[in-house]
Amino acid sequence: MGEPSPDLGDPLRIPLPRNGSVSGPDPTGPARGAQLPPGLPVGGPGEEDGEAAYVRPYTVTGGRTRPSGMTLPFEALVEGLAAPRPEHAPESRRILGLVTGQYLSVAELSAHLHLPVGVVRVLVGDLADEGAVRVHGLTTTASAPAPATTLSVLESVLNGISAL
């Protein structure tokens, strides 16, 4: 159950553009890591740990690993609109409790509840479907592009960080 593995290729296998027509390095230059100057040793391989454990938290979603509608970004903000009700699952009640009076991202809910992001996505999706929460910052459209692709937003971010 709950085999959520997305159908994504292994990015490591994607060949890098190295034909000189893109902004890659000089194609005649060294391959990455091929010629390290002294003092830049190449470390050992990454660690691999043991077998994966069974994920019990997905039992609270009835085994579903996807929200009913869209996939919620990690940074989507959840706004509470309704008080928790007895018929809500405990985890859903806790979500509603956390988002009362404040916006919290899917990632923050996941961290505070010690639940995987995937579980929070499903629960928040259900709560949104029933109108108990509103989700902000969902997938953008052509008429409303992602904030990070808007120069004026980036300018505000730049000024904001600079003033920190």
Binding site: I14, G33, G39, E47, D49, V153, L154
Partner: protein, 220 residues
């Protein structure tokens, strides 16, 4: 987590959001920056040096690979948690803007999660540890291939730069238009500079200007 937060200067102003305070009437505009780099290169420290909130850790889910989800934060599981957890922080900026900093899960086998993480991001700061240079290869490859704006921030763990940026650039074989700078993940000022450099780079890319590599200078 591999890094205790005790090395984050306690004097940092931390604008804590009071749970009782009312949410602003208009939802904040959210932007995010991805912090990538090898295992234990200092991503969490980097995030913690500037985040308004103590860095949080979550399982970057969508995976059946899950260890210790019920006792996230247990010190005994530190290493396991680092490998499966995604650490992140948040900065409130004027104009009702929230900037999230997401650290990537450290190991190659979690690269598939990055697509989720990177979608809609301003870009990425790739932290480089020159003692373990190969650890950042997957991140560099990833962002380069997808043409996602990124900067290389060479982390000077003890405040000393052991290698010139040119040497590191050559060893990594990255193009000269990728900004490089020294950083110190513990330093708020240095982290700020890395983020500023990234946002400027992203703006240049967005405006179609050929971005000159921003010269870096040792922090502090």
């Amino acid at each position: 987590m591999a890094y205790p937060h005790s090395d984050v200067a306690p004097a940092l102003p931390r604008a804590r959001r009071d749970a009782e305070s009312a949410a602003p009437a208009v939802a904040p505009t959210v932007v995010k920056i991805v912090v990538a780099g090898g295992f234990a290169v200092g991503k969490t420290t980097f995030i913690g040096s500037i985040s308004d909130i103590e860095p949080l850790s979550t399982e970057a889910a969508m995976t059946e690979h899950s260890v210790g989800v019920d006792d996230a934060g247990a010190a005994a599981d530190a290493k396991t948690l680092t490998t499966v957890a995604m650490d992140f922080g948040r900065i409130s900026l004027p104009g009702n803007l929230w900037l999230y900093l997401f650290g990537t899960p450290g190991q190659d086998r979690f690269l598939f999660m990055w697509d989720d993480l990177v979608r809609g991001a301003v870009g990425a700061v790739v932290l480089v540890d020159t003692d373990r240079l190969d650890q950042c290869f997957p991140a560099v490859d990833y962002f380069e291939t997808r043409r996602i704006p990124f900067v290389l921030a060479v982390n000077c763990f003890d405040g000393v730069a052991r290698h010139t940026l040119d040497d590191v650039r050559e060893a990594l074989a990255v193009s000269s238009d990728v900004p490089m700078l020294y950083t110190d993940a513990r330093s708020r000022a240095a982290t700020k500079q890395a983020l500023v450099t990234l946002v400027q780079h992203a703006m240049e890319r967005l405006s179609g200007e050929p971005g000159p590599g921003a010269p870096g200078s040792p922090p502090g």
